[in-house]
């Protein structure tokens, strides 16, 4: 526990079991990104998974939309402290996308239109833990929130859920991504409050 702030009682007591340490609830959907929002036309959109041996699996928008989709309802936690509970998405499970991908890689780097990258263990993308989402709250995902499609990995801080997803590179080696190179935690588990290097 920190030192007591004199005169502070806290107006809200929303420390529900669903809220990781240091987080607070929002009902809106704040945006965190480092530059202008890329505008990606689905006519030119392509998702690419590249294995550690260089084998490439590609989906254009029509092929991607033809895959079986799921509708996860999940809690999301941003490293900037806001959490949003019970968000409703539609997307393709990474288990589906990886079904025909031959790999023994341990790590993945998600790459975005616009150049953003983020790294995570491949184990965190499989077994029903991650989706490529294209619909939020029943509407097509807006560009500022990562549309046409973004990664959704709700059990990690939300910067791992790369917006404007273009591809996923699989590798035997772990390579820190954009925020991970700028002082943010390499793994980012909100329940262990892994916000920054050394947390």
């Amino acid at each position: 526990m920190g030192i007591v702030s004199p005169g502070f009682s806290g107006r809200r007591r929303e420390s529900s079991e669903k809220l990781p340490p240091g987080q607070y609830l929002v009902t809106d959907f704040p945006v965190l990104s480092a530059g202008p929002t890329p505008r990606v036309d689905t006519g030119r959109w392509e998702l690419r998974i590249t294995t550690e041996t260089g084998q490439v699996h590609r989906w254009d928008w029509a092929a991607f939309q033809a895959l079986p989709a799921e509708e996860p309802t999940v809690d999301i936690h941003c490293v900037t402290k806001w959490s949003k509970l019970g968000t409703h998405w539609r997307g393709v499970s990474l288990d589906t996308l990886l079904a025909d991908v031959e790999t023994s890689a341990g790590f993945a780097t998600a790459k975005s239109y616009g150049g953003y990258t983020t790294n995570l263990p491949l184990a965190d993308l499989v077994d029903g833990q991650a989706w490529v989402a294209f619909d939020f709250g029943g509407e097509p995902l807006e560009a500022e929130h990562g549309g046409p499609a973004r990664l959704l990995v709700p059990h990690l801080y939300f910067w791992k859920s790369a917006k404007w997803l273009q591809g996923i590179d699989l590798s035997d080696h772990d390579t820190p991504g954009f925020w991970e190179s700028l002082g943010y935690h390499n793994y980012g588990d909100p329940w262990r409050e892994q916000r920054y290097w050394g947390d």
Partner: protein
């Protein structure tokens, strides 16, 4: 003074409120003495943690308003400018309850992207700063840093606010601009312009950016900070105006006060 954007582990430190300055009717600057502060870069932020007597605690992020070096000897000082949100949990405490001598827990500096470094590569490039409301805070740290470090990069600030009463750092900006050493400020009033100024009200548009910013050919470094809608609109205008997406760094905060 350490100048690394990010140092090692970020430990919680206890600062002491050395002074408080009201900037507007709803915004206050908190001057903190922070023993052992490792230094920061202009544009970085800190996490602040408040703890109630029953152990309940909550955290928020706030931009640092002060330059890493203020040109004076003495212990490092960290200044935060906090805008009170009507429905906020933390900002009312920081702007109304907190008093001189109170302790305040913080850790940082955080963020190695939205920074301007007078010693960094490209530090003589022209700089365009575009602020929406209290988004001016990290940009003010850059303006102060430029002055403290004797930086020669020409700076232009386009500052959009609701009305003159909402301006943060109005006197200081006017003084720094009068100094005539390469800072130009353009104010855009969305609702009410200064009485008698005859200035129209409205939002920043392509014409504003063309006349008060830099041409893309000058390869300016661009920093945009404000509410999400503001940043989205300005960044789109800049890209359409020919600025490279890689030259535009943005920082956004939502109505909730969530901030990168």
């Amino acid at each position: 003074m350490a100048r690394a954007a990010v140092l090692g582990r970020l430990t919680w430190r206890v600062g002491t409120v050395a002074a408080l300055r009201d900037e507007t009717a709803t915004a206050r600057t908190i001057v903190l003495d922070v023993p052992g502060w490792p230094g920061h870069l202009a544009g970085q932020h800190v996490d602040v943690r408040l703890t109630a007597e029953d152990g309940y605690s909550t955290e928020r992020s706030y931009s640092i308003a002060s330059a890493p070096v203020d040109g004076q000897a003495g212990p490092p000082v960290v200044e935060l400018t906090v805008q009170r949100l009507a429905d906020g949990e933390v900002s009312p405490y920081l702007t109304q309850t907190l008093a001189v001598g109170y302790p305040l827990e913080l850790r940082g500096p955080v963020g190695g992207w939205f920074v301007w470094n007078p010693d960094g590569p490209g530090s003589t490039r022209p700089v365009l700063l575009v602020a929406g409301g209290s988004g001016v805070v990290p940009l003010m740290a850059m303006i102060r840093e430029r002055a403290a470090a004797g930086g020669r990069a020409p700076f232009r600030l386009i500052y959009s606010v609701r009305d003159p009463g909402a301006l943060l750092y109005a006197d200081e900006l006017a003084r720094r601009e009068r100094a005539g050493d390469g800072l130009e400020v353009t104010y855009v009033y969305t609702r009410t312009a200064p009485p008698g100024s005859g200035q129209p009200t409205g939002r920043i548009n392509a014409a504003t950016l063309a006349s008060a910013g830099w041409p893309p050919a000058e390869s300016p470094a661009v920093f945009v900070c404000g509410p999400t809608g503001f940043v989205e609109a300005v960044a789109d205008l800049l890209v359409r105006g020919g600025h490279g997406t890689g030259a535009i760094k943005t920082e956004r905060f939502g109505p909730s006060g969530g901030k990168p």
